[in-house]
């Protein structure tokens, strides 16, 4: 194991000087916990190390060459002897980089477990999904995965790995803080220092090691579970057991799996937004009825396949992206334009009437009366739900329906929405008449 961070305890006699003398111990870290965020390049590292302290003043040197640690986030907490160990200050000495010196006043002498925490960049995680639709597209098997990547420059062995779903507010980038010449900057504008590490040194593991890891992984009876819990506005995923992720490596772990999630094939038509085409969505809800709903679903890319024929053959349907889906929220996954559902609006009649004139005899107001015929075809062999939105670009409108389309819903001040369900291989036609009040005729408009 190569460590980027080092701890050295220096005896105190030298009184404040950071000369590297009287080296007493170099404690290994006993445990390490990683809490990795995905909304920012940020990981909270917490490690425990046993320190051997002397009674009186102690100096502890911590260095982090070739890592992406934010030095201003360094914190140390004794986990025993409450009140008897005081960490008086943390000094970032002059003319030395990537090094901090803790001054510790101890009333005890001997081994003291301490916890050191800091923020680092370079570790990331993302969620991605695989969906497999049944042949009739009424249900989908949804598999969620997380991929953890370590580019931090530090190998983390046997680390408890936790992932945070949520959007944290940051005012500085951790990577930028890690590259600073002076941890808290300088009151004088200093020329930019060369990057602390141009790139994490590419690490290659011996082939044998990879094989060994693979053997260990398959030796486990089942994939690791991820425990999920809500904290503040975030969700915390704790991966069972410990993980070893050397720098430069990524690891994929299954996050959840739900079989037979009932889905609705939803098609949307809105010229102003999608142009003259129908967009296909898969719609379901993140709730128990849909075999989900235990936790929110973090955002990520979804690849959708469909069972085709027997023998577990698949056909690739398309790619979509989840946004973050809270529990009980509707999910609409866009799968792109669809050619097998057709919506054709056609202006069938146009008339103007109810003219108003101003004092000079010019036209000041009138009504536009437009009749639209909308033809909807479902050429698929499954039933579909179609949402058609019509925008009128004015709030002075009145709508009357003709034909079999159900009632419209006023979406907002200038939009009406029709929702239809079409059986397989069917076609439906309906008409509406919209009266648009123009000019001074708007004064006569009443809701």
């Amino acid at each position: 194991m190569k460590l980027g961070t080092y701890i050295i305890i220096i005896a105190t006699v030298t009184c404040g000087a950071w000369a590297k003398v009287d080296l007493t111990t170099l404690p290994e870290r006993e445990t390490v916990q990683l809490t990795i965020y995905n909304s920012a390049d940020l990981t909270l590292v917490r490690e425990s190390r046993p320190l051997t302290l002397k009674e009186g003043a102690n100096s502890l040197q911590f260095s982090w060459e070739n890592t992406l640690i934010d030095p201003t986030s360094l914190d140390m907490l004794p986990k025993a002897y409450a009140g008897q160990i005081e960490i008086s200050e943390l000094v970032y000495p002059a003319r030395v980089r990537n090094l901090g010196l803790w001054k510790i006043d101890s009333e005890v002498s001997g081994k003291v477990p301490v916890e050191i925490s800091y923020l680092t960049s370079g570790l990331t995680w993302r969620a991605f999904y695989m969906g497999t639709l049944t042949a009739d597209e009424k249900a989908m098997r949804l598999q969620g995965y997380v991929v953890v990547t370590n580019n931090s420059g530090e190998d983390y062995e046997n680390a408890q790995t936790r992932l945070i779903v949520g959007k944290v507010h940051m005012i500085d980038e951790i990577a930028a803080l890690a590259r600073r010449q002076y941890p808290y900057g300088s009151p004088i504008a200093v020329p930019r220092a060369p990057a602390a590490m141009a790139a994490a040194p590419a690490r290659t593991l011996a082939r044998g090691a990879v094989m060994e890891m693979a053997v260990m992984d398959t030796a486990a009876a089942k994939p690791k579970e991820i425990v999920k819990e809500g904290l503040s506005e975030y969700f915390l995923y704790t991966i069972e057991g410990n993980e070893t992720i050397p720098t430069g490596w990524s690891k994929r772990l299954p996050s959840f799996e739900a079989d037979e999630v009932p889905v609705v094939n939803l098609y949307k038509y809105e010229e102003e937004r999608y142009g003259p085409q129908v967009i296909r969505f898969l719609s379901f809800k993140n709730n128990a009825e849909h075999k989900l709903g235990e936790t929110p679903i973090p955002g990520g890319v979804l690849k959708v396949y469909r069972n085709a024929g027997g023998a577990q053959h698949l056909s690739y349907t398309g790619q979509s992206a989840f946004k973050y889906i809270p529990v009980d929220e509707d999910v609409e996954l866009s799968l792109g334009a669809a050619a097998d559902i057709v919506v054709e609006p056609r202006l069938m009649d146009h008339a103007t009437e109810n003219y108003r004139f101003d004092s000079k005899g010019n036209v000041a107001g009138w009504d536009d009366v437009q009749t639209y015929r909308i033809k909807v075809s479902n050429t698929r062999d499954i039933p579909v739900k179609i949402e058609i939105k019509r925008n009128f670009h004015t709030s002075y409108w009145k709508l009357t329906n003709k034909g079999d389309c159900g009632a419209y819903e006023a979406e907002d001040l200038d939009t009406a929405k029709y929702t239809l369900v079409l059986e397989p291989q069917t076609r439906r036609t309906f008409e509406y008449v919209v009266r648009l009040y123009q000019g001074t005729r708007q004064e006569d408009w009443r809701k």
Partner: protein, 382 residues
């Protein structure tokens, strides 16, 4: 040490005859710096006060004060006589050409080992304040720690100085040039917090559905009051970066977020934006916007009208805990509310604030509240 001082004494008679120019000849004493104070009570500038003992002779004395590789505001340099203020008088200050130096001319009525205090503003030495707060799992209180960060890039090493802030006791601290020191200076456990969710119609998208597969995060803040009840309130809390953590109930913490705080005077609130909630969803729509009471001039042109506007907002709480959403709405111009189904406070002429209590998500789905505002804007001129 880059600040140097030399005392030049000359007999008055010589000075009278030869004139002042030749006075810079004989180095009599190079007094060492005694007590040094670094005053950090003004965030804009750091005042250094140092005491030195000058060996003064009866008559006129010249004291040369020069500095190198440090930045001192020469107009800020003051000399205070401490032992014999009645008998020792500073007559004038002169600045030698092209030198970072000045010469004090001091008249003394006797031979004294006089302690003087020299004060000056030194650049590139300052302090920062940072905060670290750990909230409990229920998010009702935080353990607050504040750190003082001394940064010395002044060019001067301070082996041992007395550091003074704008409150509290002074403390001894040495700090070398290019050194940064971080020390704990405030610790308050169990400081009560209020968690605030804020949705502002002017800054946040109205309808997430119209965005391209993005979530609309509602900013979440912690509010801390700087008062006695909070275990604070003794002094203003300086502005600085605050990092917030939360106890996860498993002897560890998660990082909640960070924010910059301005100075918080006693009695005032510190509001720290930690992150965004995506479990509260607001969908706001304008359902009506039409003209009424239209008035026209003789030519028939519209010159004045009122409006008839309806805004609805659906607020859904998908969280498994209750929340209070602060919703800010803006209506420009002269307006009156025809009907509103929720109580609001008028923060100013054009801003309305709603406090909307949202229960936790239930067995049958999210907790939903719907706001409907029906208002008229009056006397809008065309």
């Amino acid at each position: 040490m880059k600040v140097r001082m030399s005392v030049l004494t000359a007999v008055v008679a010589v000075l009278i005859v030869i004139g002042a120019a030749e006075a810079r000849i004989k180095l009599v004493a190079l007094p060492e710096r005694a007590a040094t104070v670094i005053r950090l009570d003004n965030p804009a500038a750091t005042l250094i006060e140092e005491e030195r003992v000058l060996t003064l002779q009866k008559g006129l004395n010249k004291v040369d004060f020069s500095w190198k590789a440090v930045s001192i505001d020469s107009d800020s340099i003051r000399l205070t006589v401490l032992d014999h203020p009645e008998d020792v008088t500073l007559l004038n200050v002169s600045y030698p050409p092209n030198e970072a130096a000045l010469v004090w001319e001091i008249a003394s009525s006797g031979d004294y080992a006089e302690t003087v205090r020299i004060s000056y503003l030194l650049s590139n030495i300052d302090r920062l304040v940072t905060y670290k707060a750990i909230a409990d799992k229920a998010e009702t209180k935080v353990d607050l720690k504040s750190y003082l960060v001394l940064r010395n890039f002044s060019g001067e090493d301070f082996a041992n100085a007395r550091v003074l802030l704008d409150y509290g006791d002074s403390f001894e601290q040495g700090i070398a040039h290019e050194e940064t020191k971080q020390m704990l200076f405030l610790k308050a456990d169990g400081v009560p917090i209020t968690k605030v969710w804020k949705w502002d119609s002017a800054t946040l998208p109205w309808d997430a559905e119209k965005l391209n597969n993005e979530n609309v995060g509602i900013p979440v803040s912690y509010r801390i009051v700087n008062d006695k009840k909070s275990g604070l309130g003794e002094f203003s809390l300086w502005g600085g970066k605050a990092r917030l953590f939360q106890d996860d109930g498993r002897e560890s913490t998660i990082f909640l977020g960070e924010d910059g705080s301005a100075v918080v005077p006693v009695g005032e609130k510190m509001e720290l934006y930690i992150g965004d909630s995506r479990d509260i969803v607001v969908t706001q729509r304008k359902m009506q916007d039409s003209r009424i009471n239209v008035r026209k001039n003789n030519r028939g042109d519209v010159i004045l009208f009122d409006t008839d506007e309806v805004i609805t907002a659906k607020i859904e709480n998908f969280k498994d805990s209750p929340a209070v959403l602060t919703m800010i709405q803006h209506i420009d111009g002269q307006w009156d509310m025809a009907k509103c189904n929720m109580k609001y406070e008028r923060k100013d002429a054009f801003t309305l604030e709603f406090e909307i209590e949202l229960p936790a998500r239930g067995a049958d789905g999210p907790a939903v509240k719907e706001l409907e505002m029906h208002y008229h804007r009056r006397n809008v001129r065309q």
